[in-house]
Amino acid sequence: MRRRYIAVKIEGNQTLSERDVYDAVWTSLARLFGEYGASQAELSLIEYNQEKKQAIFRCSHKALEMVKASLAAITEADGEKVAFHVIRVSGTLKSLRTKVTNL
């Protein structure tokens, strides 16, 4: 199965835990597309840098648009106002890391 890696910048006053970040995306995905749609996304959190407030998600390439829409629709995580901004999307983790470091 082809996959896509998405680098995300998290904006907000509070520092979120890995669990909060994953829950926020999963909740948004399930709200917009339902549990069936969310299950098709094959979403997982690959890494999360709490200091830089950056995360990398992996999803099925067929569900990329769904995941990007869900990320943009997030307004709250752990009761705090937040915004998730997609920085880059790539087909491999290696090239994503290179692109994000070069930004």
Partner: protein, 242 residues
């Protein structure tokens, strides 16, 4: 880099710190132009202050006046007063009568509808044909999509999907704008394009709604508001001495 414009930032009126925060965020997210609502009674100094705030951050300031008339007569009266005061005139239509008048009036740039009440969304085929014959574009404020949840958001998405299809068929330009009243509600144009996927706009069309369509409106109105404009296609090239 691609030109992106957000024609509807809603900072607190004349709270310059708040305006600065919003414009800073817009610049960071890659917007080159920002439309900020001014009042029809704003002084030139107030507008100049906003312009300086934006230009210090490298963002082109676009003056915008929002009208929400109760009748078509009120709309016509308001348009007579404000048309030459702002680069973008947006009309929020709360009745069918106002929507029809706004769609056919060439002084109106953007028509929008109350997003939270589906019964007051009057953008149907007739409305689209009128707008297509004039110069009005359909504006969709994305902030409501972020603020609403559950049943109300699905109703909104359903209305938007229908309106987008109608606008596309009648070739009415669509303008997506943030409508954000705080920086945390702002998203990059690319992120908004992803959200537009929810109501059936493909990525190419969605990008146009943030770049080419708003740019065309602003450029056309700036030409019209220039002192060298006489009539469409007729401009002063050189003035005589004395």
């Amino acid at each position: 880099m691609k030109f992106f414009a957000d024609l509807h930032l809603c900072p607190q009126p004349y709270n310059y710190a708040h305006v600065r925060g919003m414009v800073e965020k817009a610049a960071e997210l890659g917007y080159k132009a920002a439309g900020i609502t001014v009042s029809s009674r704003s002084t030139q100094e107030e507008t100049q202050e906003l312009k300086e705030t934006c230009s210090s951050l490298g963002v082109d300031f676009v003056t915008r006046i929002d009208l929400a008339p109760k009748s078509s007569g009120e709309l016509l009266r308001n348009l007579r007063v404000v048309r030459r005061k702002a680069e973008v005139i947006a009309v929020e239509c709360f009745s069918k009568q106002v929507a029809r008048q706004a769609a056919k009036d060439r002084r109106v740039d953007l028509i929008s509808f109350p997003l939270a009440s589906p019964k007051k969304r009057f953008f149907d085929v007739a409305e689209a044909e009128l707008a297509s014959g004039a110069t009005a574009s359909l504006e969709i404020n994305m902030a409501s999509l972020l603020k609403l949840q559950g049943f109300r958001r699905s109703v909104l998405l359903s209305s938007l999907r229908r309106e987008v299809q109608t606008a596309k068929r009648a070739r009415v330009p669509i303008v997506l704008s943030s409508g954000a009243d705080e920086p945390i509600l702002l998203r990059s144009a690319e992120d908004y394009c992803s959200l537009a996927y929810l109501f059936g706009l493909d990525h190419y069309d969605a990008r146009k709604t943030f770049s080419e369509n708003p740019k065309a409106i602003v450029e056309q109105n700036r030409r019209k508001l220039s002192p060298n404009f006489i009539a469409p296609g007729v401009y002063v090239v050189r003035r005589g001495k004395g």
